[in-house]
Subunit: 587 residues, 2 copies
């Protein structure tokens, strides 16, 4: 069961509008927002969520025969409903039939899709990535031919980056593209292609990274191609099958409902592909959409947390086991202080994550207008949103298993599925280490700490406005200031290591996690400020708003103390790994 | 592949002998120790480890038909080898054919079994628990009849505690036992019975908690019974099948090689059972073996960490992906600073865990002699060893998945299996919350902090002996003193909450994790002291010993800073959960 947290989303959007109205100018009006959220909530709860666990139990999309994948029961019909309801066109440009919703709003809808059924909703997520890439970089003819059917939901899209020897390191890509007239012939093998083959749509458009024969070595010699599964005639009708075959489907730890394909290109001479942009501009084109792609994976981390939280609550309010301290016999386990602590932490973290996600979305929306300062802040926040939200999803889905006790270890419950599903999130679309490298080197050291310094100043300006009237808010402000000081020290240390990149890199993930915790706390401080002002209104939903303040208290107690610990780790990690002899370890 | 860490175990045993010789008096001599460790290492590496992943891949022990379980290929033959080699008799009393090895040594062997194949080795672990319970509490006739075949390895044993409504709360047990002449008739359902049914031995002896008709309600009315699968004649030969049936096998997240049975007793009138001890003494008898049982699960946590560490190293030294900073092209990923950090942390944590495990084993060995102070320290350490080692195993097996990148998410690699397998450890044999309740209420508040105060004094005495000569050791000592201060503050806070049990309980798991980290660091300090003295010897293995010191540095940087964070959480968690309205949450 999944109930989209519409009130929480609305609260988070309004809080953000309250504190940063300049970022939220592209939001539709309140009435439109409510219609969209409520309609999406129905589809997510009634259609997508019920398919999630049964797809996993049935072995997922691993029914593979003769190059064809049979997706789990109900998936194809659900994709049709997504299309019929206009949801596949939510993000696309209006020029090609899309609705071009602001990211802050479409992200709430995407949170619902991902929380209700992540394996299913990956198809939409990937297709949107492809649409976005083509909108930015394809020729007008390519856009006109390929975009409308994808936006309409008749075709889907994939990203073909990884090869067995080229995962994190795309420079090692070997797939070949040989020019032949107005197209290229593509040959090679791509792995980990999500929805690389399936039966939910009429056609699949692959976006493939490959190398032309005379391309420079490494990063600079990669081009990107559109390679349709079925060739497309000029009138948009489908022609014959292209020279691309699904040769196998991976047996995965999680997201089993989604087929992860190994695709073989060019076994019959070469798959027909169409160059996007110019030759050797492939990585630049892919990097242009990286912020959105990474943002979306961070959003999946949030989605998994909220789903796990909902499941934890619904189990803990019905399961009776022992008498919780200070309650009457027969009270459910949610009243055991440790269960309350775990659920409270999941609630507080989810809310911090959602606020941070929406802040990122609003920054990306605003950055579209060409504001360099906003773009810089967005660039800074993206690795944090991707890294921190996904790492937290491992802990929060684990809490849900723990609350279930022995039942959590039995697959029937479904708690284990969320735990398994989430495990891919800190890996794909750039591991947490990759995010942290980006954050340390390109986003912190390159500008000599200018952006992080401005961020800290902004946090402190918010802290300075907190009055002592509300004890919870004041306590968070106090601890946030402690965290700012620790962060300042850690940043100073990193800046002192400009010439010691290995030391800076060893501190990278702790730095990312520190900033996730710090900015998560900052977002809750802002939400708390808004909650206090909302409480003063005559028709306030007092219980709801006071529980928003409770999240601040929980985050202050359970999460924020880690900032100082991370700061200490940052200053010591590089020296520590230097002491370790890898030779002895592997002797 | 698994290579038992014999050198690491030997180092850890010798370090403990060096700093606490009085605890290690029951250790066999060095020659015998080496023979045992090396022979066990062969069996673990050559026989048990190769069966581990293939059993999981083949769906584990989930081949269930007509009440019978077919264990994975090779398991029955491997159990025979365990028996033939005398390993099933390692722990048992000499009176019944056992070898009565000291726990400090047998635990090293058990670490090898659990690391090489946890699903398989659970059978041995459970059987040892049963042997230990019967040795302590059964009649002489019962011991003579049931112990020798189990010690010999012809029969195995199970623990039957849990029922659907009685997991953590054993007071809710409903299974009935009605006296009939010299035995009882048992009826009811037991769930989560590890190796409750299998094909690896001639007979299975179930130890079953049940309630006689006129027993008092709750904890005080539970008795414990021996219920053999096949009845046993007076001469030890097997009679007819008892009235107990395996009705299903659970589909689990991990340890799939081990059958987890639902057992139905008494469908044909009642299974014949024999009372152990007196009526209504069941929980007292089970609690008498609880320290050992919980210790063994902590040991499994360590075993999973070491297995994950070995796999992470072997992958990271072969996989090439990008050029690690400051190295030449073609260097494997282990040289990436973040991969080094993860592997370094796994190494340091595993060594801290192993040292803590052996310290616990030595305490339990020595406590057998009736030393009250040692018994009190053992009682204090057991929930920490169970809770901290198992919680850490989740993080360390997750690190291994992360190091594998996308490959870690594919089941073929085996990294995902360790991640799944470990997830049961913080749940069974008392969840981490249960361990923390024990630690807070029975072990800390009940004696007004006497034991934790004496422990802190002992740690500080060790810190006081550290000279500034070795920088790594001195840095750990400095940070350990900071951690002691934070711990002192947290303990003072808990003691101030004697009348606020909900506040104390909410702080329980952070308190347990804090003490795990603190005492883990203490153990490494002791090992460091020993390593420094060993380095001064002419034939010292310098590279090995210096890498032991590197573990100190890694732990100081990556783990110890958390102590202060936990301390702050302890002081704030209770108030924070008090702010949360569960009613609003579930409205």
């Amino acid at each position: 069961m999944y109930k989209a947290p519409v009130s929480d989303m609305t609260f988070a959007l309004e809080a953000l509008q309250h504190v940063a109205p300049q970022l939220m100018e592209t939001m539709p009006d309140q009435e439109m927002r409510d219609v969209i959220l409520n309609e999406a909530a129905k589809l997510a709860g009634d259609v997508l969520a019920p398919l999630n666990h049964q797809a996993d139990k049935a072995g997922g999309a691993q029914h593979f025969e003769d190059g064809s994948v049979k997706t789990p029961e109900g998936f194809a019909a659900a994709y049709q409903q997504l299309s019929d309801g206009g949801w596949t066109s939510m993000e696309g440009s209006e020029t090609y039939g899309g609705q071009a919703l602001s990211l802050a709003l479409s992200s709430c809808v995407n949170e619902m899709w991902q929380a209700s059924n992540m394996a299913f909703s990956l198809c939409h997520l990937l297709t949107q990535g492809l649409i976005s890439a083509l909108q930015h970089s394809a020729s007008e003819a390519q856009k006109n031919l390929f975009l409308p059917p994808m936006i309409e939901g008749r075709w889907t899209g994939t990203m073909n980056l990884t090869e067995p020897q080229a995962g994190t390191d795309l420079a090692a890509i070997k797939t070949k593209a040989v020019k032949q007239g107005d197209h290229y012939l593509i040959s090679g093998q791509k792995i980990y292609i999500t929805y690389g083959e399936h039966d939910m749509a009429e056609n699949i458009i692959h976006l493939v990274l490959a190398r032309t024969p005379d391309a420079p070595a490494g990063h600079k010699g990669i081009s990107v191609f559109i390679v349709p599964k079925f060739l497309v005639n000029e009138d948009g009708s489908l022609g014959e099958q292209n020279d691309v075959t699904c040769v196998s489907i991976e047996k995965k730890l999680g997201i089993k409902g989604s087929p992860t394909a190994v695709l073989q290109y060019g076994d019959k001479g070469g798959a027909i592909g169409y160059l996007v942009g110019e030759e050797n501009q492939g990585l630049a084109i892919m990097f242009g959409m990286m912020n959105h792609a990474r943002f979306n994976v961070g959003l999946q981390g949030l989605a998994m947390c909220d789903r796990a939280l909902q499941q934890a609550i619904s189990y803990a309010v019905t399961r009776v086991q022992g008498t919780p301290l200070g309650t009457d016999a027969g009270s459910p386990i949610i009243h055991h202080p440790d269960v309350t602590r775990l659920i409270g932490q999941m609630k507080a973290e989810s809310e911090a994550m959602r606020a941070l996600m929406l802040y990122g979305a609003a920054l990306l929306d605003k950055a579209e207008e060409g504001d360099a300062a906003i773009q810089q802040r967005a660039d800074f926040m993206i690795p944090i949103i991707k890294g921190w939200l996904t790492e937290q999803s491992l802990i929060m889905t684990s809490h849900n298993v723990q609350i279930h006790g022995g039942m959590g270890f039995i697959e029937e419950t479904g708690a284990a599925q969320h735990y398994r599903d989430a495990r891919i999130l800190p890996i794909y679309e750039g591991t947490t280490a990759i995010q942290s490298n980006d954050l340390v080197f390109r986003k912190t050291l390159r500008d000599d700490g200018a952006e992080i310094t401005s961020l800290l100043a902004e946090i402190r300006a918010d802290i300075a406005h907190i009055s002592a009237d509300n004890a919870i808010l004041a306590d968070l402000a106090t601890e946030l200031e402690v965290a700012c000081q620790a962060t300042e020290g850690a940043v100073a240390f990193l800046l002192s290591q400009q010439n010691q990149p290995r030391i800076a890199a060893a501190a990278g993930v702790p730095y990312l996690m520190m900033l996730g915790t710090l900015t998560g706390g900052w977002m809750l401080l802002r939400q708390g400020t808004y909650a206090v002002s909302a409480l003063a209104k005559p028709d306030a939903d007092t219980a709801f708003l006071e529980n928003k303040l409770a999240s601040l208290s929980l985050f202050t107690a359970l999460s924020l103390p880690q900032v100082a610990a991370f700061a200490k780790t940052i200053s010591k990690a590089g020296t520590a790994i230097h002491h370790l002899s890898l030779d002895q370890l592997t002797a």
